[in-house]
Amino acid sequence: MNSRNRLPFPFTAASALVLATSGALAQEADPYAPLAVESRPLQTRWQTDYAGAVQLGLGYTSDDNYMFGQYNGRNKDEATVIGNLQWQDFRSADSYWQVSLSDLGLDTREGEITWGVPDRLKISLGFDSQQQVRNDSGRTPFRGDNKQRLPDDWVSGLYTSDWTALDDSLKKFDRELSRDRLSFAADARLNDRWRMETRLSYEDKQGHGDIGGAIYTDAASGDAALLRSPVDYRTTELDLGLSYDGDRLHLDGHLAYSDFDNKDDILTWQNPYSSFGPNVRYPNGEGGLGLAPDNDQASGRLTGHYIFSSTTRLQFDGSYAVASQDQNYADYTVNPALTVTEPVPRNDYDGEVATSTFNTRLLLRPMAKLNAEVFYKLRDRNYDTNRDGYLYVRGDGGNQPRSALTVYNTNHDLTSQIAGFEVGYRLPLRSKLSFEYEYEDVERRNAAVEETEEDRYTLGYRIQPWSNFSARMHLQYADRAADTYHWDQSYYALLDAELINATPDNQRYITHPQLKQYYMANRERWEGKVDLSYLPTARWNLNLNMLYRDDDYDQSKLGLTESKWGRVNFSASYAVSDTLSGSVYTGYDRYEADQTSRAFRGGQEKNAFEIYPPLPQASDPQQNWDIDATDTSITLGANLRWQLAPDLELNLDYSYVDTKGEQDYSTRPGGSVTASDLPDVDTRLHQFEASGTWHMRDNLSLQLDYQFYSYKTDDWAWKNVQADTIDTVLTFGQDNPNEDIHYVGASVIYRWR
């Protein structure tokens, strides 16, 4: 502490009394303490003011699992090391460094080392490991990775129930994905105006996912199997940035390159079924699935603003990116026994898609209380690729078909433009009224709808009449109009002229003409939001948030016709004292979607334009059916932070989530279509976490952690679905998650200055 200068005059008794009294008063109460707020959470207070802290210990997870440990590395019944380190040194004015390592004992470990010269240079090296585990209760008879074969004693059959050797051949497998990423970053201030940034990363993603593959000859047949899918990706990314910081003009430019490399091109599997011809059925038949192709993207981006004056500013953000892919094509079929006379039209896709974006906003303040902005957004996606005919082999199920069955690839260019303005006016009681208008125009090429236009109007009001209460309201109306729906566009784009000419006019479509794909359909939207915050006292904080959105696809007879979304969230936090605080929160979310479709067969039943009875199925509204799907979720949570004693802290956290998925069907009276409601899909999660820390000494603490996790669901898609339950789909026979997991951890935290 710096001392005040002593005064150069005789130290009289009166002077001494004044000084002594002042000093005594200063020691009894620190009037400045409230000015520097103690905002550090309890559990970190002991970790500040130290140069470093290391936490070492052991944790134990009670059981193998895949929901509790889905992302946190604790998916096995095992003990794991707790290892965390934070260390930094800012004592020198010339340079500083920081080290951060966490979860060292888990497969989700991550860390970063930073060295820098203040306001001049910063260099970081980092690593980050991520893990995702999925339901591993399933089993498969296949062996191998990207070439999957059945055991030698496999017994085939037309249906899964015919496979008498299935049970003995099933083996468990892991469905885990791990990502390991190394990164390097360097930021340098070149001078007062210019800065440079460099980012380089390399990521390795490995493991297994799942994928379905079928061997078939037409849409009516399909002998499918769920397969373990290999994932072996490498991604390298580089980003170079240069920024300029002028008096009026600020610019931030980046050049980026991303290269994605998949070590696997194709996944093949041996056909377990005995359908179709001898070259297709077990043991000779084989199916092949193309895996994600290698691709790369080069892009440039410029962001910035120009300050015209204190009341006028222009902001902009533009980019141009080219994503390209030229991976060699696979053959039409992996089965060499199938006859293919016409080869693939070219060796590879050799195509690219260029995406241009430009967003700009002009901010104005024409009057002290009036803010305005005018904005424009552009996104343009433009393909540059060849259009060829592909006489493809259907499902590795037969020889190459006749030429009339050639299909043609199509590009889907898109241009989206949004223009609009927003004005806001400040009113009394610290309130603000705002109005926004947006016009969006989307042009799609080679799509059923060439253009959609939407007008959006948003009214907002924000008020803070008292310092401890604020409210925000927002009301939006949007009206989207779509061009003529060309229901036959995809038919003519995809199929060969010979086939088209052989098809009656009234059957020249793929998806029913009355179905409008909702993202290109007329839509009327209403949306309202309310957000209230109230602090009744300095220790209370209450928040209520509500949203309701109604989308009406009023011109859609088939497809998604209406959706409603509502949610309410409430939270309350209370700081009883500096050593005790708690919070509770609850939320309710409900999403309803109504959709209609019409069941129809092909051939003459596919005529969708007949008006005279007897109506073909595609023309008959009695063939309609509806789904009313509703997803709801209820969440509850509570948190308590309590410093029981100066050296003892307790942190408790509880979360409860209850979700329900409902799908209710309805059909037309007198129609031939029947469908019954599906059972609800319920999930229930309880998660409780407790952490206690005893600060044995200033630099030494003991921490105990406990977690309880309970997750249950009864998804009908997997319930009682064994590997051979479905006639023509070999599934994993996986169980629905049903976990009760306990985790305990004990660790020591040591700090040093």
Binding site: L7, A292, V393
Partner: protein
């Protein structure tokens, strides 16, 4: 006479105190050497005051360090020095005398108006009267807003509805801290939707899911247009972050002859017909390449 001496001594004492305050050399930041000493005199380090934790951060050496690092952000605050308990510093971050949000942000923007912060003015957060210190706290060794796992709590303090989504059955690893809110969103503002870092929502998704980037020989048009047509990124009741479950989700857009147009109700459950379009992965039992296919035989997204 004794009384006069007492009064005179007190006055002399007070005068010389003031003289001591105003005297001394004037420093570069406008404060005299004596004034320079006074920031630290009152705002002393103590176990209950976090002010000095800033000395363990990169902000320690602003303008050469010491009291100059205080005035760089809080202003020269001469009035506050003269009447520290009655007058606020030029820029105060509260709680007693919080300056206006724009003044507080301007203090930070004198250095931090680059890169990710370049579009702060006019951003959603700025228009909601937030300032830099609404999320950042420099008077601590580790600013929670930049602390990875802990930063999500700052966002959730206001964005309560997202807290509910983070525990839904299908989700990104946000609750575990492996995906931070700031991995996708730029809280300092942006000109695109939802203040995403990338120029579009799809590019944002492709920054982690590069295998979906394509382009593909056989594209699934809604995929190339907007990932959120089928997915809810914060969390979903349905598997794979889907907005609805199959086959209903697929049938919102597909109604072709035969199996795509047929309803699949409970009669297709085990014990009934065990329908392949309903159970397991439903449509994806065969049509697995929903994000696009590069296989010459993949026109129906089955290869």
């Amino acid at each position: 006479m004794a009384g006069f001496r007492l009064i005179f001594s007190a006055l002399l004492l007070g005068t010389l105190c003031v003289a001591g305050v105003v005297g001394g050399a004037v420093a570069e930041n406008g404060l005299t050497e004596t004034r320079q000493a006074q920031c630290m005199d009152c705002h002393a380090a103590s176990s209950n005051v976090a002010v000095h934790a800033i000395n363990n951060t990169v902000h320690r050496d602003l303008a050469g360090g010491g009291n100059a690092s205080c005035t760089t952000c809080h202003g020269t605050s001469e009035e506050h020095l003269r009447a520290p308990t009655n007058t606020a510093p030029d820029v105060s971050f509260g709680p007693r005398w919080p300056s206006g949000a724009d003044a507080r942000s301007a203090s930070c923007q004198s250095c931090h108006e680059k890169s990710d912060q370049i579009l702060w003015t006019g951003s959603e957060h700025q228009q909601e009267n937030l300032s830099c210190d609404s999320c950042h706290d420099l008077h601590r060794q580790q600013d929670l807003a930049t602390a990875g796992k802990a930063s999500e709590q700052i966002c959730l303090n206001c964005h309560q509805q997202v807290r509910a989504e983070l525990r839904l059955p299908s989700r990104h690893p946000i609750a575990e801290g492996k995906t931070a809110c700031t991995d996708c969103h730029n809280p300092h503002g942006g000109l695109g939707d939802a203040d995403l870092h990338q120029v579009s929502l799809n590019d944002n998704c492709f920054s982690c899911h590069q295998e979906k980037r394509g382009p593909f020989l056989w594209e699934h048009p809604p995929v190339a247009e907007d990932c959120s047509l089928c997915h809810r990124p914060h969390g979903s009741v349905n598997d794979r972050l889907l907005t609805a479950r199959g086959p209903a989700l697929c049938q919102q857009c597909h109604a072709a002859a035969f199996h795509p147009s047929v309803p699949y109700g409970s009669e297709g459950l085990p014990g009934g017909t065990s329908n392949q379009n309903l159970l397991g992965k439903n449509c994806l039992n065969c049509h697995s390449q929903t994000h696009g296919s590069n296989h010459p035989s993949g026109a129906r997204l089955t290869r």
